[in-house]
């Protein structure tokens, strides 16, 4: 007989090991799934994890694309992780991402066709402020009325999506677009274009922002007093209150930071890879970032790695679809497995498996 026993302290060894074990378990279970679909399992796994990085045909293009795809995930996840540490659950990053994109694009479209150096910085600021304000709605409602920020922030996603639709066919619509929805393409507007910084690298300012956010979050959480207060508020709310930490301030700070970062991510996306405000601009980064935050164990460096891994499964998954003919849903299931095994592995961090002493005959009698 085996039983689970709670560890007195979470195991550091397992905390480092489980992501790798989860990855291996996903490859095995995913391989079985691919095999059952009648596809070569080893080829499929290799296409997903190896080809984007090392296949000579694709790698030169895919490697920088990993950064492009990972940047918004990392930027949003970093913000979310700070809140999650404090027990402030911002589930609505997708909405803040959309509002940030709308505000950033609106600044650019208002300035069009003026070319000036200040337009791009103004867009970044507008994106951050837009996301910040959108996140302040659940923050203020929670502080003033005690509402649940999970529900409010989530519901605001749908409000944001409606606004996005309305803006793409209304105010922000391209006047030269023959009546089709969608704004002007910012890629064709030099002052507003979040272009690649080095020729051929695909690396845009969002990637730089994502890496900076990782470093800043690390400094904030491990070196700064505010970081300590945030962690304390999450781990022991009562103790935090005795220590003079104002929970309202923590709520506002956490939602504000995550909202601003999500808004910036949206702005970098709309001005760069996406190019325009369109009805289906939102592609779920705000929700996937929640997975990335937990995959990275709410640790900035972990999130960096998790964001890159997640984007690898996306890009490798795309390759596997048209090279091997895997259905899109099999790739989603594969990503789901990764999260499943990771959460299952969490058990080993907090619990250990002990052999229960067999019940003796005497006891049984």
């Amino acid at each position: 007989m085996y039983k689970l026993e709670k560890r007195p302290n979470p195991s550091n060894l397992w905390a480092y090991l489980t992501p790798f074990l989860a990855l291996i378990a996903t490859m095995i279970a995913g391989g079985i799934m691919f095999w059952m679909l009648g596809k070569p399992p080893v080829d499929a796994i290799r296409t997903i994890f190896w080809d984007p990085l090392f296949n000579e045909q694709f790698a030169a293009y895919s490697r920088p694309q990993l950064l492009v795809k990972a940047a918004p995930l990392i930027l949003i996840a970093i913000g979310l992780s700070i809140g999650f540490k404090a027990g402030v659950w911002n589930i609505g990053a997708e909405g803040q991402y959309v509002i940030g994109a709308l505000c950033g694009a609106a600044v650019a479209l208002a300035a069009y066709p003026l070319e000036a150096w200040w337009i791009f910085p103004a867009m970044v600021t507008a994106g951050a402020v837009g996301g910040f304000i959108w996140a302040m709605i659940p923050a203020i409602l929670k502080i003033k009325l005690g509402t649940n920020e999970i529900l409010v922030s989530l519901m605001l996603v749908y409000v944001a999506l409606e606004l996005l639709s309305s803006m793409s066919v209304g105010v922000l619509r391209n006047p030269d677009g023959n009546g089709f929805p969608g704004s002007r393409n910012l890629q064709q507007y030099a002052s507003a274009h979040n272009a690649e910084i080095w020729q051929g690298s695909s690396v845009h300012w969002g990637v730089v922002a994502a890496f900076s956010a990782v470093v800043l979050a690390y400094v904030l959480m491990s070196k700064h007093r505010l970081g300590f207060q945030i962690k304390l508020a999450g781990a022991a709310p009562k103790a935090a209150r005795f220590a003079g930490v104002n929970p309202h301030v923590i709520t506002a700070v956490c939602l504000g930071i995550s909202g601003a970062l999500a808004g910036m991510a949206g702005m970098f996306e709309v001005a760069g890879p996406a190019g325009q405000v369109s009805i289906d601009f939102a592609s779920g980064y705000g929700f996937t970032a929640i997975i990335v935050a937990f995959l990275g164990r709410l640790n900035p460096w972990g999130i960096l790695a998790a964001g890159l891994l997640m984007s690898l499964t996306y890009i490798g998954g795309e390759l596997a679809q048209f090279i091997i003919g895997l259905p899109a849903s099999a790739i989603s299931a594969f990503q789901g497995m990764l999260l499943f095994f990771l959460l299952a592995g969490e058990l080993l961090v907090n619990y250990r498996i002990r052999r229960a002493a067999p019940r003796t005959v005497k006891e049984a009698v």
Partner: protein, 360 residues
């Protein structure tokens, strides 16, 4: 002399390229397809995929087709197309309006790869566009719907407020109103191409509001499933025949048949005769087909509908023939005047009689 030499050189190069690519019979032409929905949607993407299979069938081992389904419109689409081009695809069909700018961007990076973008309006040296005159099919639907409705209420599930969809609404309304002056259109904008739950909700709402005919411009069979649950409600197959509902609510359908076009374009690339074109075909070339009108439609109405189809096939009848006013009452087409393609392509207004506003 110089000119002649250049021509000869060009011919020699072309010959070398052709023989290098196809002479040994092992080099296949790789053709890529980018789909917005899943190939199992039973509608739009399903038909594109059927036409892809027709390409496979027509060319056998001379082609290799690859595809990717459920590709979001935007940055992801651009990457998918780039990867397809990197993998050696020489012809790529991008099958949704939202792929327009990504297609143009990627095409600029791969001048030797040909691109075909469905339902868009931007072209380049290596980008053609193609679409079908679905509004011809909508005219037939409108006629049948106007004749068949008992409640005089027709429900319309619209996707996005783009000209193609608005054209369809106008065409259906025009022809329903012509045979039934009391007819009313209720329009729900779903803001999605493929979302069975949303489409089903829209159908339920429309039926609750009294509609007994459901027209849809979304891609799945969900609205027909809802119609099947409601006595006396009829609908039409959209993009695909949706023949599995023939015994139930489906009385006819608009079928997008891309196969002849796809085969034609693949052949053009193989022969080296591919040129940029803007194709907009209708019932006449078979790109738009009207699925079998079932016996649920009385024989006289069926005969009228078939006569209309025939008139459109021969070009004798254009669905947008005046007199037609715009929604605000201002004249659009004078008596006997036929709409020009430019206005139709960018149509962003309702015609007179339709209520409500196009979402802004």
């Amino acid at each position: 002399m110089i000119l002649r030499r250049t021509l000869l050189a060009a011919a020699a190069t072309a010959l070398a390229l052709t023989s290098g690519a196809f002479a040994d019979g092992h080099e296949k032409l790789k053709v890529g397809f980018v789909y917005v929905g899943s190939i199992g949607d039973g509608g739009w993407t399903y038909e594109h995929n059927q036409s892809r299979l027709a390409v496979d069938e027509a060319f056998g081992d001379k082609v290799e087709t690859i595809y990717q389904e459920s590709v979001p419109e935007g940055a992801d689409a651009e990457r998918v197309m780039t990867q397809m081009a990197l993998s050696g695809a020489k012809l790529i069909f991008t099958t949704s309006f939202g792929y327009m700018d990504p297609t143009i961007n990627v095409a600029a990076k791969f001048p030797d790869v040909k691109f075909e973008h469905a339902t868009g309006y931007k072209t380049a040296d290596n980008v053609s566009t193609y679409s079908a005159r679905f509004y011809e099919g909508r005219a037939v639907q409108g006629h049948i719907a106007g004749k068949m409705t008992k409640t005089n209420k027709i429900g319309y599930i619209a996707s996005f407020p783009i000209p193609e969809v608005i054209r369809g609404i106008n065409s259906a309304y025009l022809h329903a109103k012509r045979v039934n002056p009391d007819v009313e259109f209720n329009i729900i904008w779903a803001f999605t191409w493929e979302d069975p739950a949303k489409e089903a909700d829209a159908a339920k709402t429309l039926i609750e509001q009294g509609a007994d005919v459901i027209l849809q411009h979304t891609d799945t069979t969900a609205p027909l499933t809802v119609a099947a649950e409601n006595e006396g409600v009829i609908g039409f197959g959209q993009a695909s025949d949706m023949a599995q509902f023939k015994d139930g609510p489906r009385v006819s359908s608009i079928i997008d048949n891309w196969a002849p076009y796809y085969i034609d374009r693949v052949k053009a690339v193989m022969d080296g005769t591919w040129e940029t074109v803007q194709t907009w075909d209708g019932i006449d070339t078979g790109m738009v087909e009207i699925g079998e009108i079932t016996d649920r439609v009385p024989a006289d109405i069926k005969a009228e509908a078939e006569a209309m189809i025939e008139a459109m096939r021969t070009g004798a009848y254009h669905p947008f023939t005046g007199p037609i006013n715009k929604q605000d009452g201002t004249p659009w087409l004078a008596d006997g005047e036929v709409a020009d393609d430019g206005t139709l392509a960018g149509m962003s207004f309702y015609i007179e009689g339709l209520t409500g506003d196009i979402p802004q």
